[in-house]
Subunit: 121 residues, 2 copies
């Protein structure tokens, strides 16, 4: 079983290569809980299938021009990654630069929770 710092380093490396799906496939627990900073039915998702479906919806509805992943930042069984995304929402055509922090909790070598904090500064 890998230590949190090792998992964090591998996870960030995959994200830096744009391999977000591979990062999830490799490290999500079957029971992963995903918490987004919004109200509504997508705010909390339970399980790999639901989280994967969210990702597919997201990619289908946005054009990604560029991404950056910085980190990891580590404390105990948690690590954080800072994401910068340059994207266009297909529905509105609006291009935006988004910054967020992904906060990940690890148990038994897998990510059991991901939580996204959106930049408001």
């Amino acid at each position: 079983m890998q230590a949190t710092a090792e998992i964090a380093a591998e996870f960030v490396k995959l994200c830096q290569q744009g391999e977000f799906d591979a990062a999830g496939e490799r490290f999500w627990s079957d029971d992963i809980v995903s918490v987004e900073p919004m109200e509504g039915e997508m705010a909390v998702l339970h399980g790999r299938a639901a989280v994967k479906a969210k990702g597919e919806w997201w990619y289908a509805n946005h054009t990604i021009h560029a991404t950056e992943a910085h980190g990891p930042y580590v404390n105990g069984d948690q690590f954080a990654v800072r994401f910068l995304m340059d994207l266009t929402a297909k529905a509105s055509g609006q291009r935006m630069q988004v910054e967020e922090i992904g906060l990940y909790t690890v148990r038994d070598g897998k990510i059991v929770e991901e939580r996204f904090l959106f930049h408001m500064g």
Copy 2:
């Protein structure tokens, strides 16, 4: 009672002005828990007095050349701040640039937990 996003914005503003003590005085709960990413007796501290004493120890043992605070990043009752610090440890004379994320949990308008994640990237 202030919403998390408002507290987060005020907290970051004070930190950007270098007013870290004032930020703590204003927003720490009496029961605050502080979690640092290290082993040892300072790793988890309970209560305002203990957290304040840690801060005093820290300032007494480091010379701060510059600090930056970026954010906040917000999700529900939690917010994060990214800190950059240029400092010299007085004991060793070693100057270093440190990056960390402070993750704060708010309850009843006060910060009940602070947790620091150190940059390892």
